[in-house]
Subunit: 363 residues, 2 copies
């Protein structure tokens, strides 16, 4: 039994309690893995270490929104154990998507450290061989499947009304479908199957990230707190604006941010020829002729990448995307400030705090 | 609304009704995919064509066992719609595993035809390029995720008691964990991370296939028909014997069977250096010195493969594994014939029929 819910009651921060919940989950899975041998236990140990390694943006947004409804004395009281379990499920879905995304992109690092795939590869008896990479990629695919299954298992066991559970399953279906559709479009753009138009890229960004990272956690909070559909839709709409701002800001940070802070390879988007809003804008400018030749080179040099960055600045692409971030943030703030909004002020305050933290991040 | 349940009532064969149910499922998903653009619809169309392309062994075993309980007038009546939905879920889990297995193995064919990955690759504007393969592999990973999610969504919507639903979720958890552990061991054996001992290989075979393909569908049938745990365990135990026989027979057929009938590359197990019971036995014989050098060559020739097959025959490996198949079948038949078994005779007849069909198959 997890100590996380008691932690909430004894005044531990929500973040600490969610981390505790995730650790408990990973430990329980590693324990259950024993009957399948030490390699399967080791896989779960690595998962437990790499899961929840970030800022827990998604589960905390959910849990803090539930707390906001409680402060507003709106709707039903939610047991701390239910909030923690739902938070674990929210982070598990993120982990599943991250793992399969890393397999698709061939990434071995995340936040400046080896991810699950990189860790498994390093532990293979014959490091840096094709067999080691194959084993590690397999681990990424299979652990992603287990995490996805874990989301459903956790939701199935939540102590909520059958009506609420039904709604949570429908929301999960929608979040998964939309994220997969967004990821499929993202890869289709990179692999030359889709026309890289700005509209397609913005829809892809919203589908791939905004739904499951922002709209979905807010909807879950709304369901858990016993709110009606009107509140849920208002939260989801605000979350989509915030999520699009987050994803576009991420694209800017990946290319222009400080790699010491965001921990990623600062040239990877440029090397992969990733179709971001930056690139879509640049394509419409006269600078495109110079940019096109530098993009998508397997062995991009630092000098090439710096030249690309200079071009993307000079042609106005960076300014344009930062403008889109501001626009989405404005739309988000307007949705929150709307006097006709059914969202109680205590919950709006939670959203505003989350937005401020996200907007000021450097990684 | 699916016409499959009515089809059962109007005397259509269970197989035809399950096929209808799968077609309806694929069509509904393709329709819902429209909001994410034509590429996502096309992906679902390909999924609908490649899903359920086999003999539907798993869903039919489940559905026929439910029918056996009905003939025995044992337990609760099960609505045809519930049986069809559960059958669709059973086939969806198989499809999810097959897709991720094909990604892991790099397979583009199944049953002599392009699988989803091969079909997507062939539709890419630049066929046979790394971009086309990347796009196709991504499609395999993501459609596997959607199918896995679809299993849970279908179970969540089943019209059964909350107690039955809880049990179905627990069984699904177990089936997924066990299959993933088996697949992980299978790849670990091939990639040189696990010692290829016969015991490890037999446990891997049982985990990877027997549970989700046989024990799990039989357990589902037992839960749907309102049977107690004693019946469920007796069915699962019989299913595990049958499943191990099936997997071992598959290993023999993959290497020695007629490729025109089983539709697979007859040399792929040998080329991949797959650690099957055949190889584990051969390793313990003096013939191993000759076999070892021929195995796991990327560019295995037909002559090499034929030489390998001759060695595996001569050293007794084929005879040994065929003996294991017979032993598992005997254990299965003994479990069914046990006068103390709680399984009603009408259900035993279903199991015996299924076993006969499986044992005589050539592909």
């Amino acid at each position: 039994v997890s100590a996380a819910p008691q932690a909430v009651e004894t005044g531990l921060s929500l973040e600490a309690a969610v981390r505790l919940g995730l650790e408990d989950y990973g430990r329980a899975q590693a324990r259950a893995a024993r009957r399948y041998g030490p390699d399967f236990v080791a896989l779960w140990d690595i998962a437990a270490q790499t899961m929840g390694g970030g800022k827990l943006v998604r589960p905390l947004l959910m849990a803090e929104t539930v707390a906001g409804f409680a402060r507003a004395r709106s709707g039903a009281a939610v047991a701390p154990a239910t909030v923690i379990d739902a938070a674990v499920a929210v982070e598990l879905l993120h982990y599943a998507f991250v793992l399969h995304d890393d397999v698709i992109d061939g990434d071995l690092m995340r936040r400046g450290r080896p991810n699950l795939i990189g860790t498994v590869a390093a532990q293979h008896p014959a490091r840096h061989t094709p067999a080691a990479m194959h084993w590690a990629t397999t681990a990424g695919i299979l652990m992603g499947d287990l995490a996805l299954s874990g989301v459903y298992q956790t939701f199935a066991r939540l102590d909520v009304t059958s009506q609420a559970k039904e709604r949570l399953f429908t929301l999960l279906d929608h979040a998964i479908t939309e994220t997969v559709a967004g990821e499929f479009a993202d890869v289709g753009l990179a692999d030359g199957c889709l026309d890289p138009e700005l509209g397609t890229i913005l829809a892809m960004s919203a589908n791939k990230t905004a739904t499951y990272s922002f709209a979905w956690p807010l909807r879950i909070a709304s369901v858990l707190a016993g709110q009606g559909r009107e509140v849920e839709e208002a939260l989801a709409s605000a979350g989509r604006h915030l999520g699009l701002a987050f994803q576009l800001q991420d694209d800017v940070l990946s290319t222009f941010g400080d790699p010491a802070r965001h921990g990623k390879d600062p040239n990877s988007d440029l090397r992969e020829g990733k179709q971001t809003a930056l690139i879509a804008f640049a394509r419409m400018t006269p600078a495109w002729r110079d940019i096109e030749g530098l993009l998508a080179q397997d062995s991009i040099t630092d000098a090439h990448a710096d030249a690309l960055r200079a071009h993307l600045e000079a042609c106005g692409a960076r300014r344009f995307v930062e403008g889109l971030v501001d626009e989405s943030m404005d739309a988000f703030r307007a949705a929150c400030a709307d006097p006709a909004s059914p969202i109680p002020p205590q919950v709006r305050a939670v959203l505003a705090d989350a937005a401020d933290r996200l907007h000021e991040r450097q990684s």
